[in-house]
Amino acid sequence: MPNQVMLGSENIDFMIHGVFSYQFFGHTVWITTTHICLLIVMILIIAFAAAAGQAMKKATEVPGAFQNAVELIVEMLDKMVKAVMGKNAAKFANYIGSVFIFILICNLSGLMGLRPPTADYGVTLPLGLMTFTMIHYNKFKHKKLKGVVRELCDPWPFWAPINLISYVAVPVSLSLRLFANVLSGVVIMALVYGLLSFIAIGWPAILHVYFDIFSGAIQTYVFCMLTMTYVTDAIGES
């Protein structure tokens, strides 16, 4: 039966598609467009990193254009981490910087005609879970078991289940925020290109500027900012 709810919407396409499938221990596993886009993004980032490493190996006193750009990026990321984490910045600057660049390039890949990999919950949930692991690893490392138990039973001991729920809510809300923001951009762009394809010439660039560049950059910043805030909070004053 044809889907009557979405009648006249054959051109709208923002779903993830399977490219090919293979058998893995009896399960059918699909390689989807998300994997392909992630691969392209990864190749871009690795190529840039390799070029930056080569440029830094023969760094000069007066930097050239490329070396200048690389130094600018690193300094900007370091400053961002330093502003939130203070004296713990040195330990986390690498991770936060890598995640920042990865999410930013993922969100901007909509400009290259790819489906942004971050519009797949399978990409953003692991990012949220990594933050979750970092928070609790650092909590146990710095506050010890006693401090963690005391924090769990914060106002009163019977409050513990509610605190547990709030711990679990952190990765869920972090990942859903990033996912839904990028997905909303993807859906609106798909609607514009699908339904208005005969007049969609030139002017959708304005929408790309908002949904891909502005929204993508803001969400990247928010993700990294919240990760840093949570981890700083977990480390505490000690």
């Binding site: 779903m15 859903l176 839904a180």
Partner: protein, 84 residues
């Protein structure tokens, strides 16, 4: 009791419409944030860049609840979890 597939799809569409009403909350919240940021810039124009950054961060976090509604609406429309 048995329901026709079209009935379930229609109800899913109504549910999706109701779910995006969640957009009202973030709209009010972001408006309040922007209004207070404008007042703050008026009082202290020197801190404009700091205020803008804080405002955008707060607005992006406030947006989350609206996006939950959007996710539910999209699930109802495209994943169709209620169909047998």
């Amino acid at each position: 009791m048995e329901f026709n597939e079209n009935f379930i799809l229609g109800c899913s569409a109504i549910g999706a419409g109701l779910a995006v009403i969640a957009g009202i909350g973030p709209g009010i919240g972001q408006g309040i944030a922007a209004g207070h940021a404008a007042a703050a810039v008026g009082r202290n124009p020197g801190a404009k860049s700091d205020i803008t950054t804080t405002m955008l961060l707060g607005q992006a976090v406030a947006e989350t609840t609206g996006l939950y509604g959007l996710v539910i609406a999209l699930l109802l429309l495209f994943v169709k979890p209620l169909l047998p």
